[in-house]
């Protein structure tokens, strides 16, 4: 099972990195989302994989590691905030500049100012 999870993390990372290196904002946002999945699963996996042992006190003897879960839970919510922010930036940049390219020609200059 571990090998499948590891390959999945690797695949999502590779996909995220490739999309992140594209030149359009929306694609970069998609890449970041993909990378977020990979990172979250990776962090979660640092608690090692355990099946059938949710970290709820009670009948079970062994529990999965709760700490990475708590950290990843907030990470998921924060990454929602991040994705929302980045996509709004992308949208507003597109509406302002009329293009959604992420690279600008010269430092400090917009490719196109005005309508």
């Amino acid at each position: 099972m571990e090998v499948l999870v590891a390959i999945s993390i690797g695949a999502m990372t590779a996909s995220g990195i490739y999309l992140m290196l594209r030149l359009r904002t929306f694609t970069v946002v998609l890449g970041l989302s993909m990378l977020t999945y990979a990172v979250n699963v990776f962090l979660f996996a640092s608690g090692r994989l355990v099946t059938g042992a949710p970290p709820i006190l009670g009948s079970l003897d062994t529990l999965s590691d709760p700490l990475p879960q708590a950290l990843v839970l907030t990470a998921i919510v924060i990454s929602f905030g991040m994705t929302a922010l980045v996509v709004m930036l992308a949208l507003s940049a597109y509406l302002n500049a009329g293009t959604d390219e992420i690279d600008i020609e010269k430092p400090g200059e917009q490719p196109e100012t005005g309508g």
Partner: protein, 953 residues
């Protein structure tokens, strides 16, 4: 009073004037005055201990003991003198400024800056820790920047402030280095320890670098040659600032430091030559330039430079007698120079000019100002019966004892000093009354002349009875400087000494020089000389250009390049770490692979690949990526993380809706923008990185943790300490509640930033683009379909109850504030999607901003509640709650914290999506106040209130 409180009072006082200016200028001035007066009283309360019992008061509080930085204060004679000057003259300046500043000047800001500066200065002179001293030192640079640049509308003010900050700031940086070396040599950063280790410091091989670096700080602050050029440019400040900074405080800080470090650093040939020569040059140069300045304040500025040089010279000579004279002259200079600056300010205020060439004859028009100015200027010239005479005699005496050349050059300095002092009197006040003043001057009100008048009384009283008034005081201060008891008999008449002869020469020749001043001025003006401001500006602009070029080269606007470099560098480090480390094979027992897992794995890999292959079709890519998210959620279910699975599912829904809505206004296709080799390169980067991360994950998963985890503690204490069975939730709201609080604050900020971005986008070019926006995809005729409206309306109460249920059970079962917040947010979101923005907003009772702030506030308050009860921040307790008819509810106090989380999450998600809806509104989407476009049960024409292309507001 505690020394820490004395130093803190100005800072505390600084909070008020800037905020309370609406209460009026007199209130502001009174508060400023009270803060200063309180600090002064506190200081005076310590006077008996320092002066009668001869104690050195030490006070210490730990701050960062690991690096030797502690809040240690020390009060001895030297610190007392300086604190007295800073606070005492500060009082007079506050009164003077109240009447000096014009109606259009923001007085609240002025007093706040002044108090900040005052606090920093008091901090310097009371510090017993050199690191603490450095902090206050930098604070004086910053706050004096605000004061000098107070008149922001004047370019001179801004440039002068910038130059002062640059020069003194650079000096401060050098001094940090010097002080650290000094502390290393002495083995302590406490000044009283350093002062006792003078011999060890002087013998150290690091003595010279430390000395040079510290002197750089002192010389830049005290405007010693060759750093004297910033001081005259700082004269663009309002006169009260000049009077304060350049008589008693800022420029004296450098002198204070040299006096403070005198026992540790002086007494070597290096100290003697560097300090005394710099002082000598500064003294003569300042005096000569001052004579030829037509601006009263510039004249005073260069005279200040000259007098600072004089004191530096005395400190540099290294004898106890000279140090004694230095202390005495510091007192005298502060009194007469503050009075002179205020006189110049009065003249400027009344005659509307400070140009000496336009003045003259003011004696008859402004008799009070004339009297004050004359007394102070005569003291500056060193005329008997005034205090300046006494210390100047001592300086000449000390120079004469040092050597012939010192005596000659000091006399030359004294000649010019006499000349410019007399010029100040003669060309401003004497001569015939003119009829071409820019404004007919007369004496100002009592409030403006009282401060310099008080100083003039001091000038005369000290001048007449030095031994009786300040003799004992100077003894104590000078003893503190040199480190052992010294006493000099201060008197007007010592008999015919070489110093007296030099003084007589100075006065005689000085008057002759003044007689020729008008003739010499054109020659002086034409004489070539290095222009410090031009050199400084050239240096600064060259540095700025270099910085710009470097930044442009590194930061060329190609974000994809930065991201690529970032990835490759991280990868490089990872490979390096892997290659240089040692590895043991994984021994952890692996889980078996079942058919279900194989299916999900295949879906995930397909989708990861698919999103790359299909990313040009953005809608498709979105769908595919959401499948990845769902598989991730499923894997959380499989690997025993129900909370994560719920969160991932709900977040996935919210994210995809948001991206879909945003995509509506963006291009739907991505054109091919890169060349084939570049794509190959990116594929290689992505594959190598993915492989590395995957490999790392595999290595991690196949090995058990080598160290015991802290999770065992969490599990063991979850129920007993946190009152909950769901360990994940207890960690979130209890064990690591502080982290969670930070997270929800970040989330709230992100939502507010989104709101602000949209607010900004609705102005300017984006708004024009939106108004002309034409849908690039087929639009449904029925935007609010009956089925969806009915279903979402029916789901809403159910969803809300589910939300409450998940929230309440969260402490013991999977759930909690985050998840229920998302569930409720999605339920509300569905209303927006079904019936539109206007319909939903009209029914919204609470603003989302308010919800976010309420959430954060509740979370913080529930944390503070435990502090009030005497526990640590965010400690929780728990209780069972019995409500008739319901199961018993296990309620932990952390539930209120969780409520804060819940509210913030709902508010943040909703604010982000509502912001998007506003973009849609601007793009001309119709506004409907009814739930549906077509209401099958009613008359068609009445229900349809659609106002096409109606704009917001």
């Amino acid at each position: 009073m505690s020394l820490a409180l004395i130093a803190a009072l100005p800072f505390i006082g600084a909070l008020f004037p800037g905020l309370m200016i609406r209460a009026g200028r007199n209130v502001c001035a009174s508060i400023t005055l009270s803060a200063t007066a309180l600090a002064l009283i506190g200081l005076l309360m310590n006077a008996p201990a320092v002066f009668l019992r001869g104690e050195t008061i030490l006070e210490s509080y730990e701050w960062l003991p690991q690096i030797g930085l502690n809040v240690n204060f020390m009060l001895d004679g030297l610190g007392f003198l300086f604190a007295l000057m800073i606070l005492g003259i500060g009082l007079l300046i506050i009164i003077y400024a109240r009447f000096y500043l014009a109606g259009s000047d923001p007085m609240g800001n002025f007093y706040t800056y002044l108090l900040l500066f005052q606090g920093a200065m008091v901090g310097i002179v009371l510090s017993d820790n050199i690191l603490l001293l450095l902090i206050f030192w930098e604070l004086t640079s910053l706050s004096s920047f605000l004061l000098i640049g107070y008149w922001k509308h004047l370019p001179d003010g801004r440039q002068g402030a910038r130059m002062a900050l640059t020069v003194t700031g650079m000096g401060g940086l050098a001094m940090i280095g010097g002080m650290l070396i000094l502390g290393q040599i002495a083995g302590s950063y406490d000044i009283h320890v350093i002062l006792q280790n003078g011999d060890a410091i002087r013998e150290s091989e690091l003595y010279l670098p430390a000395l040079i670096l510290i002197l750089l700080g002192a010389f830049t602050k005290s405007a010693q040659f060759p750093f004297h050029f910033w001081l005259p440019h700082a004269m663009a400040a309002p006169t009260p600032v000049s009077a304060y900074l350049h008589s008693a405080t800022m420029v004296k800080a450098g002198l204070f430091l040299m006096a403070r470090m005198w026992p540790a650093l002086s007494g070597t040939p290096e100290w003697f030559w560097i300090v005394s020569v710099a002082g000598l040059i500064t003294m003569v140069l300042g005096a000569v330039i001052a004579l030829f300045k037509d601006d009263l304040k510039a004249l005073l500025a260069f005279s200040t430079v000259s007098h600072l040089g004089l004191i530096t010279l005395l400190l540099g000579l290294g004898t106890e007698y000279a140090a004694y004279a230095a202390v005495f002259h510091i007192i005298n200079h502060a009194t007469f120079k503050a009075a002179l600056f205020m006189t110049a300010g009065i003249v400027d205020h009344e005659a509307h000019t400070r140009n000496i060439r336009l003045l003259g004859g003011l004696r008859r028009l402004m008799p009070i100002t004339f009297t004050i100015g004359t007394i102070a200027a005569l003291s500056m010239a060193g005329i008997p019966l005034f205090n300046g005479f006494l210390s100047k005699e001592m300086m000449l005496q000390a120079a004469e004892e040092t050597g012939l050349w010192f005596a000659v050059i000091a006399t030359i300095g004294a000649i010019f000093s006499v000349a410019y002092s007399f010029r100040f009197i003669v060309h401003t006040f004497l001569g015939p009354v003119r009829d071409d003043y820019p404004h007919r001057p007369h004496d100002p009100g009592f409030g403006m002349w009282v401060s310099p008048a008080i100083l003039c009384v001091l000038v005369v009283v000290i001048g007449l009875f030095p031994a009786q008034t300040v003799g004992g005081f100077v003894d104590v201060v000078a003893s503190a400087v040199v480190g052992n008891y010294v006493h000099e008999h201060l008197a007007i008449w010592h008999g015919v000494t070489p110093a007296l002869i030099m003084s007589i020469i100075a006065v005689g020749v000085g008057i002759v020089v003044l007689a020729f001043q008008r003739g010499l001025a054109p020659v002086w003006d034409k004489a070539p000389r290095p222009e410090a401001k031009a050199m400084f500006d050239a240096l600064v602009s060259r540095a700025a250009k270099g910085a710009n070029e470097l930044t442009d080269a590194l930061h060329d606007g190609a974000i994809s390049r930065y991201l690529g470099i970032l990835t490759v560098v991280i990868l490089g480090y990872a490979v390096w770490a892997f290659v240089s480390g040692t590895h043991v094979p994984g021994t952890r027992e692996l889980l078996p692979i079942g058919p279900v897992e194989m299916v999900f794995f295949a879906v995930l890999i397909t989708c990861s690949l698919g999103v790359v292959l299909m990313h040009r079709m953005r809608f498709v890519a979105l769908i595919v990526i959401s499948i990845c998210g769902l598989v991730v959620a499923m894997s959380f279910v499989r690997f025993s993380a129900p909370d994560l699975a719920l969160t991932q599912l709900t977040v996935e829904v919210a994210t995809i809706i948001l991206l879909l809505l945003a995509l509506n206004y963006m291009p739907k296709e991505t054109p091919v923008g890169t060349t084939f080799p570049r794509r190959v390169r990116d594929v290689v980067i992505a594959l190598v990185t993915g492989g590395a991360v995957g490999g790392l994950a595999y290595a991690l998963l196949t090995r058990s943790p080598s160290l015991p985890t802290i999770s065992d503690y969490h599990v063991a204490n979850s129920y007993t300490g946190g009152g909950g069975n769901n360990v994940v939730n207890v960690i979130l709201v209890d064990f690591r509640g502080f982290d969670t609080m930070g997270e929800i604050i970040v989330l709230g900020i992100a939502a507010l930033v989104i709101f602000a971005i949209v607010e900004a986008a609705l102005q300017g070019p984006a708004s024009r683009r939106l108004r002309n926006w034409v849908p690039d995809m087929p639009q449904s005729r029925d935007r609010h379909p009956l089925m969806m409206v009915v279903v979402t309306r029916m789901t809403l109460p159910i969803a809300l109850i589910v939300g409450i249920y998940i929230f309440l059970r969260g402490h013991n079962e999977p759930g909690g504030g985050f998840i229920s917040g998302l569930v409720v947010a999605i339920a509300l979101l569905m209303q927006y999607m079904a019936s539109g923005f206007a319909f939903s907003t009209e029914r919204q009772r609470v603003a989302y901003h308010g919800m976010i702030s309420a959430g954060v506030l509740i979370a913080v308050l529930s944390g503070l509640a435990s502090v009030v009860l005497g526990w640590n921040f965010l400690t929780s307790t728990n209780e069972y709650l019995y409500i008739p008819g319901l199961e018993r509810i296990h309620l932990a106090s952390a539930v209120s914290f969780d409520l804060g989380v819940f509210l913030t999450v709902v508010g943040a998600v909703m604010l982000a999506l509502a912001s998007l809806s506003r973009i849609g509104l601007r793009a001309g989407e119709g506004v409907n106040l009814t739930p549906m476009d077509v209401d099958p049960s009613a008359d068609h024409s009445r229900t349809e209130m659609r106002a096409d292309r109606q704009k917001e507001n």
